[in-house]
Amino acid sequence: MRLNVRKTYKLYINGEFPRTESGRFYAVKGKGGELLANACRGSRKDLRNAVQAARKAFSGWSGKTAFNRGQILYRLAEVCESRAAELVDELRRQGSTAADARREVAALTDRWVYYAGWSDKYPQVFGSVNPVAGPYYNFTVPEPTGVVGVVAPEEPSLLGLVSRIAPAIVGGNVVVAITSESRPLAAITLGEIFETSDVPAGVVNLISGLKTELVPWLAAHMDVNAIDTTGVADVAIAAVQKTAAENVKRVVHFNAGKIGWDDATRSQSPYAIFDFQEMKTVWHPIGM
């Protein structure tokens, strides 16, 4: 009988897997209350480091060609597919039934494929050439908002996270995500998938911990341009919206509600990409 090697669940910041600088942890329990792991209880400093890493990665990621970003998202689908068994296993340990876990992993893998395909199309759907009344060439293009803070829903912990990260990064944004507090394990494993799928360091950063601590810090950070409150508890949303005003953050919320996260017709759409885009209009005179 061989003793198994347990995994240490850490944060994912700037393409690396540091422990929280605070040295704190919290116990992640399974359905029956058994200890699954000691996850990092991320700190304010961890969040700041993550935002800094994200900001540093923004220029490179948003400057990549749309084709290239599409390929990288597709690569994420490939790696999720090949590591599906591991993700399913982790979701099951966290309390999902086998069937639910398999469905969740299949849906999130397909979600990467869906958004990968949008990378070089949404600018044509949302951009325009504008017929102004004068001798000017005038066009509008979507550009990424910048650093996006994502608060992942508690459940589905992995599909919810992917569904909110994918539309942000396919559009050239960089992300600092707070993972599901009760079920962070598969999300942290997703960090390994980012790390091995040509996603540049800093483009996605994952912080586990207590949302009551982390969310207000994320909402208050002056270098975060938008915040996705999908995973914020209803009672806390007003406070997040209020704090977000400090630097005029865009606040985005997706309510999966009755639709369900694996309903592909509504829980994924180019309008989710549009939510994290700014429209830039350029004028130039026309003349000889």
Binding site: V132, A133, T140, G146, Q241, K242, A245, T281, W283
Partner: protein
């Protein structure tokens, strides 16, 4: 008020080199006798002009003469409530049920009536706001009409704007507009809201409400169903009552970043949709290969247009080091030729500052510039004795961290800075919490496109500046706000997609 600046510095090299300052122009005054400004304006609620519940009216003046033009009703929370109720009733009973093509025809009517009455509107706009008649005549009023005309056409075509979605209106929109382009801002707000099937309560700025009420007369004449557009005048308290009214579904605000943040905060926890068009501190970047004379005109237009009361004004000029000297020399000459004075004179380039409060704010920031060690240059032109005036001004030797390089002045004051490489220009230009607009001047096409890509701002003017069009989306990045006005994108804030 401007005592510090009264010193005639005709002997300074800049002023002396400008022989053109000696040119004389005979006055060419716009007639005002055909314009009917009422002695008193009431609120426009439910299609009627009604006295305010507050029974209070406040004076509105001509900032060029300080003479009272009229008095405006001060709407209190009860008046706002009455207006919202009328808007709600009109939304549920009339406007949302109307075939979209009929909605369109009402909006076309408004556009046409503005065109018919454009001269009177231009004169009133100039008298109440202080902007030169040639601007209100050639820019504000024609663009206001064009906005209604543009969005009228969208009303029955919304399904083409949002692929694969059902489009419905949001409901009752509360709209708050600034004093720098009074009628034009009313048009920017009303036209897309009405086209998308919403009803509106509009609050104009307290110093410049007259043309909004003239628009109310036009709306009446157009037979727009009562309650579809309601106009409540007043100051900040009126705006706050509108923002906080529980039956308003959407707020659209144009104004300062400070107030915008306050509004965003007060909407926290509500279901109201929000769009904000806030302040700016736009970089206007001139490369050494730029067509210098055109660039100088662009710089002048960028900062002195509408007395610099423009959120997208090119208030930070970045000159490539090699052209600092010649461009500054040309700027000195050029501001000497700007005609400052009676806004009703068709020759006037720079009119009156909108209010005493704004003049004081400009003066305070200009004083800070001098105190922080920048070198000031001002036109030596004479200005009238009465009214609010500020001579076109620019600073050189401006430190990037100084207040005049960081804060929005909202007046005819330019800060001149320098750069060596394109990378440095981008870095410095983006180093502000704002991101509304930017200008780039260069003959090199690839550089224009690269700069346009790298500047974090919602509107980029390349080899031009301060151009506006109803088909062209306008709005900011970062703390300059969110949402767009103009173009297809300007519809998005006023629809719900399902």
């Amino acid at each position: 008020m401007t005592s510090k600046l009264e010193t005639r510095d005709r002997l300074t090299p800049g002023a002396a080199s400008s022989a053109l300052t000696e040119w004389h122009y005979s006055p060419s005054l716009e007639a005002t006798d055909h314009v009917k400004i009422q002695p008193r304006y009431n609120l426009f609620i439910g299609g009627k002009f009604v006295e305010p519940h507050s029974k209070r009216w406040f004076e509105t003046i001509n900032p060029a003469t300080e003479e009272t033009l009229s008095e405006m009703a001060e709407a209190d929370a009860e008046d706002v409530d009455r207006a919202v109720k009328e808007a709600r009733r009109a939304y549920e009973k009339v406007w949302r049920k109307l075939p979209a093509s009929e909605r369109a025809k009402y909006i076309f009517r408004i556009a046409r009536l503005i065109q018919e009455k454009s001269r009177g509107l231009a004169v009133a706009e100039t008298m109440n706001g202080g902007k030169p008649i040639k601007e209100s005549r050639d820019v504000d009023i024609p663009l206001a009409a064009a906005h209604f005309f543009y969005y009228a056409g969208w009303a029955d075509k919304l399904e083409y704007a949002f692929p694969n979605r059902n489009v419905s209106p949001v409901g009752v929109a509360g709209q708050i507009i600034p004093w720098n382009f009074p009628l034009l801002m009313a048009a920017w707000k009303l036209a897309p809201a009405l086209a998308a099937g919403n009803t509106v309560v509009l609050k104009p700025a307290e110093t410049t409400s007259i043309t909004s009420l003239m628009l109310a007369e036009i709306i009446q004449e157009a037979d727009l169903p009562p309650g579809v557009v309601n106009i409540v005048t007043g100051a900040g308290a009126t705006g706050a009552a509108l923002v906080n009214h529980p039956d308003v579904d959407k707020i659209a605000f144009t104004g300062s970043t400070d107030v915008g943040k306050r509004i965003q905060r007060s909407l926290a926890g509500t279901k109201k949709k929000l769009t904000l068009e806030l302040g700016g501190k736009a970089p206007n970047i001139v490369f050494e290969d730029a067509p210098i004379d055109q660039a100088v005109e662009g710089i002048i237009n960028g900062i002195y247009f509408n007395q610099g009361h423009v959120c997208c004004a090119g208030s930070r000029l970045f000159l490539q080091e090699s052209i600092l000297e010649p461009v500054v020399r040309k700027l000195r000459e050029r501001i000497g030729t700007l005609r400052v004075g009676n806004p009703l004179d068709k020759n006037t380039d720079v009119g009156a500052i909108n209010s005493r409060a704004q003049l004081e704010k400009i003066q305070e920031l200009v004083d800070s510039g001098t105190e922080e060690g920048a070198e000031i240059f001002q036109s030596s032109c004479s200005v009238p004795d009465r009214g609010f005036w500020f001579r076109p001004t620019f600073f050189t030797g401006v430190a990037a961290s100084s207040r005049i390089a960081q804060e929005e002045i909202f007046g005819p004051v330019l800060s001149v800075l320098t750069f060596r490489t394109p990378e440095e220009a981008i870095e410095k230009a983006n180093n502000t919490p704002y991101g509304l607009s930017a200008g780039v001047w260069t003959e090199k096409g690839s550089r224009i496109l690269k700069m346009a890509q790298k500047l974090r701002a919602g509107v980029i003017w390349a080899n031009t500046y301060n151009k506006f069009d109803p088909a062209s989306p306008f709005g900011g990045y970062k703390e300059s706000g969110f949402g767009r006005e103009g173009g297809l994108h300007g519809l998005a804030p006023y629809v719900v997609l399902s």
